[in-house]
Amino acid sequence: MADKKRDFIDQKLQDLNNDGVDRRGFLKCMAWAGTGLVWTMSGGIPVSHAFDKGGSKSAMKGGDFSFVQISDSHIGFNKPANPDVTATLQTAIDRINALPHRPDFLIHTGDLSQLSKPSEFDTLDQALKGAAAKQIYFVPGEHDMLTDNGEQYLQRYGKGTKGAGWYSFDQKGVHFVGLVNVVNLKAGGLGSLGHEQLEWLEDDLKGRSASTPIVLFAHIPLWTIYPDWGWGTDDSEQALSYVKKFGSVTVLNGHIHQVMQKIEGKLSFHTAMSTAFPQPAPGTAPSAGPMKVPADQLQKVLGITDVNYLVSGKSLAIVDSPLEGSTSSASEKSAG
């Protein structure tokens, strides 16, 4: 386990030393926060190019679309490093509304609230009403299912969903699946999808063309990032076995409040920043509790994830943007 910790730290240091992105490190398992890279997934091969706000707009053609992932708003949290998580959520929404292209929809990958309180959900709803998106799709985090076995979450955000709130939908030829891995967790275990949901997933994907781009999203990572801190899902292997035949699979998660990516063949894994507070890199702190950062640094470690689907290459380009700070310098370095 100590080796694993060292691995993660080594990669972080390597990135810092290179003053940019080490491609090999990225492909293995990369952690970075607040860069403005565009990673284009094309035929399972990630291609990086400089992030340019104007460029992404002009590149969009008919049939292309974009959506934004936000995560871990934790409305109700009021401790260091963020006494006002509603304000940072609002800043995230402002960032979304300032994007050069209006996203077709938002995905919130859970932990909407801190304690599943009605007032917390109300505050979130109120803030999200101001987001320039036609639709918002949700999956719950463990903070959202604390009362009534998640009944309140389902009533508010899970209408028409199956089980504890899982569902799928299609957008311009891309198949999206929202999964729930935060309920009925076993003592000593990680996140869990459960038998019923896995059966549903297998059935949902069956019969779809292998050329259909697939996007899976869930709160807890569907790849094992750091089991000591519960950053993984016990039965994710089985879920991923159902997407093996597809040419392009993107997995979007939250929960760990930092950006991490891994490319494994045709699978691209990605976690988003929180809109509320950062968490430490795996193994770099005694626990996964909130990371305290100076007030003037906070917005640099919170952010949103903008995803553009370009129909021409059947590719998804993922851009992580911090709430504050320029993203162009990092991308220039990586492009060089």
């Binding site: 401790k79 604390l146 009362t147 003592a187 000593g188 089991p227 801190w229 519960g230 996964a288």
Partner: protein, 139 residues
């Protein structure tokens, strides 16, 4: 905030056959109002006691840095165990065998349970199931 927010004591011998229901944990101006009740099980008794008026032996388990501490506790039958959350993140205390289940405990919130019957009582946090512990109750 130092106020005792939750105080719930339920005799284990009755809870085994009765449904323990936390009727409400409502936030009123930042203070949780405690309430404990028990439904079913006929004449089962549930005591709602404040931590200011303890009866019998007591033991405290701290939740700190996503760890129950001490993780394994040996107590005499009749001991009231109090869990207190010292993290900035909420946790829960759930019996692995369904014998007790706390609501979400925010920072400094407490959950109490009185152990009457000798035996082993493993528990975990249902939000962060890597967090586990055990109460061993001796006659």
């Amino acid at each position: 905030m130092k106020s005792i927010k939750i105080s719930k004591v339920v005799d284990l011998r009755w809870s085994a056959m009765a449904l323990v229901t936390v009727v409400s944990l409502m936030a009123l101006g930042g203070t949780l109002v405690s309430s404990a009740s028990q439904s079913g099980g006929g004449s089962g008794t549930a005591h709602a006691a404040s931590a200011g008026a303890p009866t019998g032996p007591e033991m405290e388990v701290k939740i700190d840095n996503f760890v129950f501490s001490p993780g394994v506790v040996t107590v005499k039958a009749g001991t009231q165990v109090t869990w207190i959350n010292k993290d900035d993140i909420p946790h829960t205390v759930d019996s692995t065998e369904g014998k007790f289940k706390s609501a979400a405990l925010d920072t400094d919130d407490k959950f109490q349970f009185k152990f009457i019957e000798p035996g082993e009582y493993p528990f975990y946090c249902r939000m962060h199931p890597k967090m586990t512990g055990k109460i061993i109750v001796q006659p």
